[in-house]
């Protein structure tokens, strides 16, 4: 099966990651930060090493800023529900995933939505700027749309937030591992990461890196310290890590960073070339409908949405499935983005390659779509 559904989770995991997960299950099956015996100490050491590596990779100020959660959605929930109070003003983009939209609905925050321009970062920043009020508490946005790949100008938005004293949070689900992110350089306060995507880790792990106080907790429980107190400890990362950590997945994420640094540093360019090739051919195919103005390098991540004319997106996905190609159809849990693209009624077919796809697989995809009627 050819997997082009890598924006949902990278379909093929590197052997380095599989080995690290196996090693964790064989040799590190003890609860980190709980016991005092050698096995628990080794597990704590392994988790701490992973925190150091992750902090370094994402340009964070230290390993204690790295919080392990259940998934990227949980990371986003921790930030939005912990940091915001009912009525607080927040600005998001019109490309956000429901991982942002739904928690915000629950917080009862006052939400403004900034328009992302498909070709101009300057216009996008101006749109955010025009919505800032005296009481704006936070800008939270995706690093890149999971539907069309449009990137947000993080450096410029980081500067804007810093100059106005506003917190800056980023959902990096579609970017982390594919393109470098430096929190300190960009001025990101909260970075939410899905390591099972661009870092090729197993599912069931999220990362939240917090450079400033998150505030309230949404889950409380055992942290392995100060057990007599009925109150959640103030110290991070443990304050936000109640319950047992997913150590095998954490080891997988750590090995995923090694993989990306050693073999996939050019992932962005490699995957971008696949999408450029698709645009080039799709633009000549009368049965294909595109929704974004070509692949503009540096403004887009390697994700492409399209439809085959007069076919429902799910129909096209089912056809491709029958030809041995996995893609994702529908709304991709991001109705705001589909409203912007005008595809709320139809959804789109999404192509998202990974490091492991080949040019021959792109050729095959084009061939089978050319004959699809």
């Amino acid at each position: 099966m050819i997997n082009f559904d890598n924006a949902a989770t990278t379909g093929k995991k590197p052997q380095m990651v599989i080995n690290a997960v196996n090693n964790a299950l064989y040799n590190l099956s003890a609860n980190p930060g709980r016991g005092g015996h050698l096995l628990s100490a080794n597990a704590s050491e392994a988790v701490y090493s992973a925190r150091k590596k992750i902090a370094n990779y994402f340009g964070a100020s230290g390993p204690d800023r790295v919080i392990f959660t259940g998934n990227c959605t949980a990371s986003i929930n921790y930030v939005l529900k912990g940091f915001l109070k009912p009525g607080d003003h927040i600005i998001i983009s019109d490309l956000e995933h429901n991982a942002v939209v739904r928690p915000l609905k629950k917080t009862d925050a006052d939400v403004s939505i900034a328009t992302v321009d498909f070709t101009s970062d300057k216009k996008t920043v101006e749109n955010f700027k025009s919505l800032i009020r005296d009481d704006t508490k936070m800008i939270f946005c995706t690093a890149a749309s999971n539907v069309c790949g449009r990137k947000l100008p993080l450096d410029e938005l980081g500067k804007l937030c810093k100059s106005r004293g506003i917190a800056f949070g980023v959902d990096a689900a579609q970017m982390a591992g594919i393109e470098p992110i430096s929190m300190q350089k960009t001025g990101i306060d909260f970075l939410c990461i899905a390591p099972h995507k661009g870092l090729y880790a197993p599912m069931g792990l999220g990362i939240l890196i917090a450079e400033r106080d998150i505030g309230d907790t949404i889950i409380e429980g055992g942290t392995g310290t100060n057990s007599l107190s009925s109150y959640q400890p103030q110290i991070i990362p443990e304050r936000y890590e109640s319950g047992t950590l997913n150590l095998p997945a954490i080891m997988g994420a750590s090995a995923g960073i090694d993989f990306v640094e050693k073999f996939a540093k050019n992932a962005y360019l490699r995957e971008s070339n696949f999408i450029k090739r698709l645009y080039k051919d799709f633009e000549k195919m009368p049965n294909i409908e595109l929704y974004t103005p070509g692949y503009i390098e540096n403004l887009y991540m390697p994700v492409l949405s399209f439809n085959v004319k007069e076919k429902a997106s799910e129909q096209t996905a089912a056809y491709l499935d029958s030809k041995g190609i996995a893609v994702r159809a529908g709304l991709h849990c991001a109705p705001l983005a589909h409203k912007k693209l005008g595809t709320t009624d139809t959804g789109t077919v999404r192509i998202a390659p990974s490091y492991f796809n080949t040019p021959y697989e792109i050729d095959y995809l084009i061939r089978v779509l050319k004959v699809y009627k």
């Binding site: 230290g62 392995g224 310290t225 057990s227 107190s229 110290i235």
Partner: protein, 71 residues
């Protein structure tokens, strides 16, 4: 030489503190502390030598020390 245990708020801070002390040439290791009335479970850094210098080094590394006890 007198040994001390510097009690930290978490295992993460204990490990961070251990690394900071080792960088300065201290011998340091992390151990689970004995159960204490009033707090309960916790971790500490076992070290020896100039304890004031060690404490200052941890403070400048952002590692909070809750208590220093003779080991």
């Amino acid at each position: 030489m007198q040994k001390y245990m510097l009690i930290t708020p978490s295992v993460t801070y204990a490990l961070k503190g251990r690394d900071a002390l080792r960088r300065l040439g201290f011998s340091a290791r992390v151990e689970r502390r004995n159960h204490q009335n009033g707090t309960g479970c916790g971790y500490g850094i076992v070290t020896e030598g100039d304890i004031r210098r060690a404490e200052q080094a941890l403070q400048s590394s952002g590692v909070k020390i809750l208590e220093i006890i003779d080991y």
